[in-house]
């Protein structure tokens, strides 16, 4: 049965591939792969059924054998091999789980609780993870295995982490579902590109300006929209995101339309030195200033540290503001906006502040993006970007800073790591999402730490124990 479903599903997805033959699109069948996939799914499903009906032992052996075979035997394509490996691993884990569960007479609710307990423990561990991750990130450019590709991936990840942290202010703290965050990212990128090209402003002047312009855009959008609630709000922000993209596409005189803007100036080393091999006369290049051998990596490392600093700035800001009245009011707004009004909180200004601040961070990230790429076009700011950033925030657990990092590693990192799988790599994106939704539907780290305590600090694990102990 499952094999049949898999056959139906994979037939159009895997079996038919459009290829360009002599400037014409034709469809190329890959029936062998389809058959193999269906067969593998059939085997996997069979294994699960047998395991469930009481024979987990042999199935476990078979799964492990497949795992071993998959590792060493050649497969027709890399994708099939990964599929077989992953499938065998899943079957092995499921059978182990079945074995474990048989000896475990707890109810579903108790099991959920124990999962929550693990979440709480993880949350406790994050107190250590945070500093460790920062140190690791700082040391990354000097680690032995680091090359250009790793640094580029690091920059990409950090950009999304920064965007995720920025959006977290609106979505995670203030509870406003913003589907058009990429609009502010675009405003920031185009602000930098245009200011730098038209007026010759330096990157360091443009960075705050771009943030300012983006937050102005946030206010402009905010005024009419903030009366709306829930779904309506989300739809209007979605529309705004598209409006910005379409304006960029059609205002050819200013933005270059679909051609975008090329030759955006690169940042200098704090306005003192450039990252060039041969500096203009009378100027000193970065490598000369520090007496180093010239290497194109210097600029990349500098960019890496730049985005790391910006992202950490956003994080620091959020961590601080959560302890301030404004941040607390945002969270209160998310919980119950009517009660907020009854306590004298002006909803409009609070929401506008959240919007403007998040937009500012989006704009700063945007101008970083522009200076890193050196080229921007409306294509980089489509809805899918907004969706990805939102997915990062939601999957990470709304309002959780570490959750955003982990979710970014999954959502952006996995497809990058699996680049070898060619067209199947987006599958890992989907699989990651499905797994998170299955295991932790409220996000990876949904546990929330109070921002202020009356009694001495307790770990999340203890709090969990208390919450379970209470009726």
């Amino acid at each position: 049965m499952a094999g049949l479903v898999a056959l139906l599903l994979t037939l159009p997805l895997v079996g038919l591939r459009t290829v360009e033959v002599q400037s014409r699109l034709t469809i190329e069948p890959h029936l062998a792969e389809v058959a193999m996939t269906a067969f593998l799914v059939f085997l996997g499903r069979l294994g699960l059924t047998v395991a469930a009906s009481g024979l987990p032992g042999p199935v476990l052996l078979a799964a492990l054998a497949t795992l071993g075979a998959g590792w060493f035997l050649p497969f027709p394509t890399e994708a099939l091999r990964v599929l077989a490996l992953a499938g065998a691993a899943v079957v092995a884990i499921r059978t182990l789980w079945a074995l474990y569960r048989r000896q475990d007479p707890r109810s579903q609710q108790e099991r959920d609780r124990s999962l929550d307990l693990w979440g709480a423990r993880l949350q406790d561990a994050t107190r250590l993870i945070g500093p460790v991750a920062v140190v690791l990130a700082l040391a990354l450019p000097f680690l032995p295995f680091t090359d250009r590709a790793v640094l580029d991936l690091g920059i990409l990840l950090l950009t999304y982490i920064m965007l995720g942290w920025g959006l977290n202010i609106v979505v995670g703290l203030a509870g406003l579902l913003d589907l058009g965050y990429v609009a502010f990212y675009a405003v920031g990128a185009y602000s930098y590109a245009l200011l730098a090209q038209t007026f010759g402003f330096s990157f360091w002047l443009c960075l705050p300006l771009a943030g300012l312009l983006a937050s102005l855009a946030g206010l402009t959008l905010g005024f009419p929209v903030l009366r709306l609630r829930g779904d309506y709000f989300a739809i209007v922000t979605l529309g705004f995101g598209e409006i910005v993209r379409i304006i960029l596409l059609n205002w050819g005189d200013l933005t270059g339309g679909p051609n975008g803007i090329a030759g955006i100036p690169r940042p200098s080393f704090f306005g003192i030195a450039d990252f060039t091999a041969t500096p203009a006369s009378g100027q000193v290049a970065f490598h000369q200033m520090f007496g180093l051998q010239y290497s194109p990596l210097h600029r990349i490392i500098f960019l890496y540290y730049l985005i790391l600093a910006l992202a950490l700035l956003v994080n620091l800001f959020t961590m601080r503001i959560r302890r301030l009245p404004l941040g607390r009011a945002w969270e209160a707004l998310r919980e119950d906006d009517i009660a907020c009004t009854a306590l004298g909180i002006n909803r409009t200004t609070i929401k506008l502040a959240a919007f403007a601040i998040a937009a500012m961070f989006g704009g700063i990230a945007g101008s970083f993006f522009a200076t890193r790429q050196g080229f921007i076009s409306p294509e980089s700011f489509s809805f899918i970007e907004s969706a990805i950033i939102l997915a990062i925030v939601v999957l990470g657990g709304m309002g959780s800073q570490i959750g955003v990092v982990i979710a970014t590693l999954l959502v952006i990192g996995l497809p990058e790591v699996f680049r070898d799988l060619a067209q199947y790599r987006m599958l890992s994106f989907g699989a990651g999402m499905v797994l998170i939704m299955l295991w932790r539907p409220r996000g990876l780290l949904s546990h929330r730490e109070p921002t202020i305590l009356l009694h001495p600090r307790k770990s999340a694990t203890q709090q969990h124990a208390e919450a379970v102990g209470a009726p």
Binding site: L324, A339, C340, T341, A342, L343, R347, R448, L453, A467
Partner: protein, 291 residues
């Protein structure tokens, strides 16, 4: 019971208030006043317009006709012209809700700190001073925590201060909502059925708490309540509504013998509907007391 003091101007004066929703008249030409340092109870059968009256007072509805004046500290505010958040922040009218509206995901203490938002926001220099970590804000926050601790102590929730508000038992949530309203330092406190769903002992505790609030804080309390044991024990003044009209107004001893009230409240056939109401009340209490 303290007798209502005679002020030149009562704390709250409601004049000719009417509220219409399309063709439905929820409140019809109601006038009464509430004194400072006194508990004024508003009672009436279901659908009499009590909660609508509260919504008009706290700015959630704009009344169709009428004037709502709050006077204290030498100022007068016309509530019907103010935005809801300014009624709470400037005219200092606080309220609780019939269906509890706590910030469930936040801790108990955070709920009480958010209630002091306006004050803290000013102390934090609208976030700037707070971001820089200036001592002004830290001091204000410490004061806010102390105020919260005081009220937590009053409602007996100090031990639970760091728990998530949404995980508290029902009675504790009710008390926390009152504490939260009090943390915003109101001059007029509007309580919408604070005893709903409480067991008899919790109701008695509530009466003690409300009398304490009236006697030790300079505040007027406006109370909507169905639980007559609470209402009769603590209120200084009663206003009875029925079908949006005021049918009686006066001290409890007078109102309870007013024939118009008995007719509206207990029905024409006195004994039967009284039994009904009591039975229903008991059922409800038992149902909620057990969880």
């Amino acid at each position: 019971m303290t007798s209502p003091q005679d002020f030149a101007e009562p704390l709250l004066r409601v004049e000719h208030l009417s509220m219409r929703f399309g063709g439905l008249v929820a409140i019809n030409d109601v006038s009464f006043s509430a004194q400072d340092c006194a508990i004024t109870a508003i009672i009436g059968p279901n659908g009499a317009g009590k909660t609508t009256l509260f919504n008009c007072l706290t700015g959630f509805y704009t009344p169709s006709v009428g004037r709502l004046t709050v006077s204290h500290s030498g100022h007068r505010w016309l509530l019907e012209r103010m935005e809801a958040h300014r009624i709470a922040g400037t005219a200092r009218v606080a309220r609780t809700f019939q269906n509890i509206r706590l910030f469930g995901g936040m801790s108990v203490l955070e709920n009480l700190i958010v209630a002091q938002h306006t004050k803290l926001m000013r102390a934090s220099g609208f976030t700037l001073a707070g971001l820089l970590g200036l001592p002004v804000y830290r001091q204000a926050e410490r004061a806010a925590v102390e105020r919260a601790r005081y009220w937590l102590d009053r409602v007996g929730l100090v031990e639970m201060a760091d728990r998530q508000a949404g995980t508290l038992p029902y009675g504790a949530q009710r008390r926390l909502e009152i504490a939260r309203a009090m943390c915003s330092e109101p001059r007029l406190l509007c309580l919408d059925e604070p005893a709903a769903g409480l067991n008899p002992r919790e109701s008695a505790d509530l009466s003690v708490l409300l009398t304490f609030i009236r006697d030790h804080h300079r505040i007027g309390v406006l109370l909507i309540e169905h639980d007559m044991s609470v209402v009769m024990a603590i209120s200084d003044h009663l206003v009875v509504l029925d079908y949006g009209r005021k049918i009686s107004d006066g001290p409890p001893a007078v109102v309870r013998h007013d024939p118009a009230v008995i007719r509206a409240y207990l029905g024409e056939d006195e004994s039967e509907s009284e039994d009904d109401a009591n039975g229903e009340d008991r059922n409800r209490r038992e149902g909620q007391g057990s969880c």
